[in-house]
């Protein structure tokens, strides 16, 4: 039993593969969970929709709800034109959501608690926004940094602030998800550790352990909410950023 709250984030090689230029590649526990995510999302979205039932069963209903939920989110924040990014946002949402939810299973591994993973996803979004923004709007994309109706004498300062906030988007985008997952799992592990520690003190300790036990139950419920909410926040921020690329004028 691990009491060290950091140990759950450790990456272990399952199958070492090769080394290129001093960089070591291996099939790790993280990679295993990434594949589990792909398998479970595919099971929901592909296997459960196989009957193509007019009146859906439970799983097909869940698949349809996921589709509609993300489609409505994209349409509401990025407009109808944003729907060309719907498969991307959907993949992103499902990947993050399943990573978060699978991470809540005890002794499992949380892919989204790895900063490199969330940072990569956020940077992909960032570069899609920049590249698509310039490709679609040309230099008019730069209007994104020049808000309308701002007095000329403070405009330079505003432009600098806008550029800074645009550049810091991938940081806040990725750190928000990473930190939520990391902090939630550490908190859970610490309180769960208290239960084991107190229960080791005998009968009196059992009563003492009841308090962290109740806390852990409530925290688990909270973490389920956070798991869903962070996936949603990640997806909706992606939509809002994509909306900037589609409609750069404020």
């Amino acid at each position: 039993m691990t009491v060290d709250p950091i140990h759950q984030f450790a990456i272990q090689d399952i199958v070492p593969l090769f080394t290129i230029g001093g960089r070591h590649f291996a099939f790790t526990n993280s990679a295993l969970y990434m594949f589990i995510i792909v398998i479970l999302v595919s099971a929901l979205m592909i296997a459960a929709t196989l009957p193509r039932a007019i009146v859906p069963g439970r799983l097909q209903s869940a698949a349809e709800m996921s589709y509609e939920f993300v489609a409505n989110t994209v349409r509401a924040s990025a407009g109808t034109e944003g729907m060309k990014f719907f498969p991307f946002v959907f993949t992103l949402f499902m990947f993050v959501l399943f990573a978060n939810l699978i991470g809540l299973i005890p002794y499992s591994f949380t892919v989204t608690s790895q900063l490199i993973v969330t940072a990569t996803l956020a940077l992909v979004v960032f570069f899609i926004v920049v590249i698509y923004g310039f490709w679609r709007n040309g230099l008019k994309f730069l209007k994104l940094f020049v808000p309308k109706g701002v007095p000329v004498y403070i405009l330079p300062a505003i432009v600098v602030i806008e550029i800074l906030s645009f550049m810091s988007r991938p940081i806040s985008h990725s750190v928000r998800l990473f930190a939520n997952m990391l902090a939630g799992h550490i908190t859970l592990q610490v309180f769960a550790g208290f239960i084991i520690m107190l229960a080791g003190f005998g009968v009196l300790g059992w009563f003492g352990a009841a308090l962290p036990f109740i806390l852990v139950i409530m925290l688990i419920a909270l973490e389920f909410l956070v798991a869903f909410l962070q996936a949603y926040v990640f997806a909706i921020l992606t939509c809002i950023y994509l909306n900037d690329a589609i409609h750069p004028g404020h």
Partner: protein, 177 residues
Amino acid sequence: MAEPTAHTEAPEGHHAFPPFESQHFPSQLLWLTLTFVLLYLLMSRIALPRVAGIFAARQKRIADDLAAAQGFKERSESANAAYMKSLADARARAQAIANETRARQAAEAKANNQRLEDELNQKLAAAERSIAATRTSAMGNVGKIAEDTAAAIVERLIGVAPSAPDVARAVGEANKR
């Protein structure tokens, strides 16, 4: 926390904080790219078109069913209208037949009554004629009876039978008074 560092195999720097261990980044990036692209392809090529197809099929089915329901409704309405029309026709025809029958029967009854009345009138007239004849003959007989009776009474009173012409004359005079 009986053995706080039992699981940190190497306490020195490179196991400090797992999410920041940069020696795992190449593997992470490799597998994240692979799995994310795989999931993207599975979703965009298979899953999402299929779900969209399910929605479209459902929408079409609902529209078709509504159209069919509308068709059935129209058919039932026209059938109802036809039924109402034939009902009204039948009612009108029945009314006509009833009126005709009533008129015919009334005419027949009137004719019957007329015939019967005529018959009865004829019989009545015949009866009256026979009564009158009877009365005339009876009245004739009354004179004869009165003469006979008067002759008998006179014979009883005076012991002499009066002659028939006298009696007849006397009765005739008495009847005139």
